[in-house]
């Protein structure tokens, strides 16, 4: 399983990388961590004419706390993010999700940007970033633009990036202290592609659940946030029956795939279970454990 022939360059600046992307466009692929791209090359599933190796662009490896948000350079590795105290303090759901992202060795080189741009429908981070209300900063030789997470992830393996654009930064809002969160994943083995993953964020104010965000991965092509599930709990006090309603709404709203490892019925069924479990955990974390 050896890669086909390709041209290779390693630009020494973002500017140079963008110029190259402009010149070569869709005939080129960006190489970051390589753990998605190189296995595909080894299998000869893709035959890019050119690889633009951006893995060493230090200018895109950073994690900065600003008032109200965290700015993460797209080429920051997963393990760097996972170990960051700023992330742990402000977006603990990311740390919890990272338990399921590939494995330690892959996280050593794999980058957040590479992960988000690959947008494999079983990858966890697109869901997490979407629920957090993240924004992407994309640059090209033509300029830069910000893209809200909901718009960034277009379809499995596809994002909103144009052929000459590169994701350079991911911005996630800092979650308020005392917020509730939970990320759960069911897979056949620890670290495998998710059969289905579920995540939620919420805060509890004056006894009611607010800013509820509920979403899944591998539950349908464009499924991230499930409005029907959120609506079942938004503004209501957390209780067993409210959580039950959210679970049923979630199971009904998603259109999960059936594949080699699990059929549609299983995913729907487990979506409901994960919704119940994660909402209970999130509420407990927000200081409001649910009885019954």
């Amino acid at each position: 399983m050896k890669p086909p022939v390709f041209e290779y360059e390693r630009p020494d600046s973002l500017r140079a990388a963008l110029d190259s992307l402009t010149r070569h466009g869709s005939k080129a692929k960006l190489l970051a961590g390589g753990y998605s791209l190189i296995p595909m090359l080894n299998l000869r599933l893709i035959k890019p004419g050119r690889l633009i190796d951006v893995s060493r662009l230090a200018e895109l490896q950073y994690l900065v706390e600003e008032f109200g948000q965290l700015r993460i350079g797209a080429l920051t590795t997963h393990n760097t993010i996972l170990r960051s105290s700023a992330i742990a303090a402000n977006c603990p759901i990311m740390v919890e999700a990272y338990r399921h992202v590939a494995n330690h060795s892959i996280r050593n080189r794999g980058t957040l940007g590479g992960n988000l741009c690959h947008n494999d429908p079983t990858f966890e981070m697109p869901l997490v970033v979407t629920l957090l209300g993240g924004t992407m900063l994309a640059r090209s030789a033509r300029g830069s633009r910000t893209i809200a997470a909901q718009r960034f992830f277009k379809a499995p393996f596809a994002t909103d990036l144009a052929a000459d654009e590169m994701l350079v930064e991911v911005r996630v809002p800092r979650m308020p202290s005392g917020h509730g969160y939970c990320f759960l994943e069911v897979s056949q083995r620890l670290g495998d592609r998710a059969l289905i993953a579920a995540a939620c964020l919420l805060t509890i104010r004056y006894g009611a659940c607010r800013e509820v965000r509920i979403g899944f991965r591998n539950a349908g092509d464009s499924v991230y946030r499930v409005a029907a599930a959120e609506a079942a709990i938004e503004g209501k006090p957390a209780s067993a029956s409210v959580i039950e309603a959210a679970a049923e709404a979630a199971a009904g709203a998603i259109t999960p795939p059936g594949d080699l490892h699990a059929d549609e019925a299983y995913r729907r069924d487990v979506a409901a279970t994960l919704t119940r479990r994660m909402l209970r955990t999130a509420c407990a974390r927000a200081g409001h454990a649910v009885d019954g």
Partner: protein, 162 residues
């Protein structure tokens, strides 16, 4: 474009080679440099048999291009010890039957070398969690975990080697 010149340090020695961009790091180490201790199991990034340390970080050599190692420092299993002078981690594997066919072993050793440098006293759970990166088909893993636990003891100087 045919070949590119790269400079790579492997186990402390500097090498300069011309390589095709598509040459995998695993093939570079095994066939260009001639260090065959790093093994290839899947070329898919799943089994971890090809694990080496790249600037100290556990890395799957089958998922990296040799050209990406230009200017980098690689450590392979051959840097740990020799058959007649094994290091303490290798000795621990020997004492605790941490290998049977030996094929996944170099990958396991490099993975655990990284762990023990990060954390000289990992508990069993921590070892198991890290060990989950790599696949062994022979041992069922328990003796590998026991080997790392033993290595920690040996490194602490708690007991003499067997």
């Amino acid at each position: 474009m045919d070949t590119l010149q790269i400079n790579v340090t492997v186990n402390g020695r500097a090498f300069q080679r011309r390589v095709e961009p598509r040459l995998l790091l695993s093939d570079f180490i095994r066939h260009e440099i001639g260090l065959t201790g790093t093994h290839v199991g899947c070329e898919n990034g799943v089994c971890g048999a090809c694990t080496v340390l790249l600037d100290g970080l556990a890395t799957r050599a089958c998922c990296m291009l040799a050209v990406q190692a230009d200017g980098r420092r690689i450590e392979t299993v051959e840097s740990l010890g020799r058959a007649n002078n094994l290091n303490l981690l290798q000795r621990a594997f020997w004492e605790m039957h941490g290998l049977q066919c030996g094929y996944c072993t170099p990958g396991m050793l490099m993975l655990m070398t990284e762990l023990l440098r990060e954390n000289p006293h990992p508990d069993r759970e921590t070892i198991r969690l890290r060990l989950n990166d790599n696949i062994c088909r022979c041992t069922g893993y328990e003796d590998i975990v026991n080997s790392v636990v033993r290595a920690v003891e040996l490194m602490r100087g708690e007991t003499a080697v067997r």
